[in-house]
Symmetry: C3
Subunit: 205 residues, 3 copies
């Protein structure tokens, strides 16, 4: 389970940076920035742990708190560099959902849930941190602005995970490919403005 901790911390860092960037846009002070970074980072994992019935990870292990504090200070100091990365909020948010999708699936598997439930856990927990971040920053959540491709990317990554499990691959290979599927699906969909056909035309009540 060592590498799960590594993915978790990488996800925490990604969402912490996305939280710092969102809150700086809103001209918050350092405390406010830290609070948004904290909630964005641990929101998804908290929902996941409560749903599964695990103890909430960040409450039992101070690593999360220190990583979020360190990341916030780092992101505030190097904010000029971060904004040179165009669409950097998009980047860190996307990496975050990729990592959290896979992590949610692996935590679900460790609690013996069936694949379809693991994918649901992964998708919900990947999306929840970002939704909370956007609500606290008083923005329309990314999830609603680009609805289909956000959660759909998580579901596709989850399906990839369980397809790959049919082959004799190491855990590291499976989670790397599955996480990459989430990240590339969302990135390509946004880049080429790809959307699935919507279903609505004859609803007019």
């Amino acid at each position: 389970m060592e590498y799960l901790m590594v993915i978790d911390i990488l996800g925490v860092i990604s969402f912490a940076i996305s939280g710092v960037l969102s809150s700086m846009k809103k001209k918050m002070d350092p405390f406010g920035i830290f609070i948004i970074a904290f909630v964005a980072s641990v929101g998804g994992g908290t929902l996941r742990d409560i749903l599964i019935g695990f103890p909430v990870a960040w409450m039992r292990d101070l690593t999360y708190m220190y990583v979020i504090m360190g990341t916030s200070v780092f992101a505030i100091i190097f904010r000029k560099k971060l904004v040179y990365l165009r669409k950097s909020l998009f980047l860190f948010d996307t990496v975050g959902i990729g990592l959290y999708t896979v992590l949610g699936i692996e935590k679900g598997l460790s609690a013996d849930f069936p694949p379809i439930i693991c994918i649901a856990i992964g998708t919900m927990t990947a999306c929840f941190g970002g939704v909370i971040r956007d609500i606290l920053c008083n923005e329309i959540p990314l999830l609603f602005r680009t609805k289909e491709i956000y959660a759909t990317a998580c579901i596709l990554g989850g399906i990839t995970y369980f397809l790959l499990m049919q082959f004799p691959l190491s855990d590291g290979v499976i989670f790397t490919i599955s996480g990459a599927v989430v990240i590339f699906t969302r990135s390509l969909a946004v880049y080429f403005d790809i959307r699935l056909p919507s279903v609505y035309f004859d609803v007019d009540n």
Copy 2:
């Protein structure tokens, strides 16, 4: 406890259809529609199970997931028929809160909570799925648009439940009448535009 499962599934179907109708209005793709249907269906029950301390029902029993998938596909295919039912979103939402109110009360009783707490559980869980559905569809929740009569109907249904328990009636009769009280209270209140008197006139700060 067999019939509790039946009520639960009926509630899941009602809220799933309400979720499909809400999300089709927003021109979502099939994945988005399924996600809204899923969250609307299991949101209330998830809150209820977490509050009571039960394992979350849909995570332990795949029936929920399959029913929501099946209902979503059915509702998408037969959407033309559904919209012929005028106010069909209202209809399915109302049936859903009626069923979930009674179900929440019965789950509360099975965990030995006192009547007043059971009514609170029933009301909160009946309302929560719809609130989440509306927030995810970026609409002002029904709960706020017709505030009083939505939750008030659940509370009246709950009071009916415990009044009927004083009489030698079968469980099936009690839950049918109580659920019907929720559904008819809300329907009549909306139809005749009945509201309780509001309390506000001398607050002007």
Copy 3:
């Protein structure tokens, strides 16, 4: 642990009055007012208990329900007196976050969490009831309108708590001073319009 119950009830009363005042502004009926008062009062404690893994307090002890009912009736009857207290919503909300911050810390300590986690629990649970109240009343939450000083006051009160624990003071003295720090920090900050410097100037993407 007797005095914890007293603080909890005082916090419940403060948030119940804040809920009654918020909902009367929205011209709700008596049922609606009670529901908002209830959710504002128990929202923070419910989140705290679920995070810590305690049974949810108001579901096991009817005192909460009766206190909220009594407070709501009292606040509705004496609403004319309450509104003579200018900024009375601000007052009760601020007393509420002061009490809930300290209570969250003490509950966290009783479950053996480290200080930094206890402060996070106290801050989150102090803020959550008010956020839920404002969302249900369809207002921009106070937390976002005066972002920095709301949660920041809770964090400062929490830091005060653990600093005072280094000295040979009674529990009562520690929680009184720490709660007062929250209340005075927020009151003074609003009165003198003090804000921490914001971090944003070179973010323009």
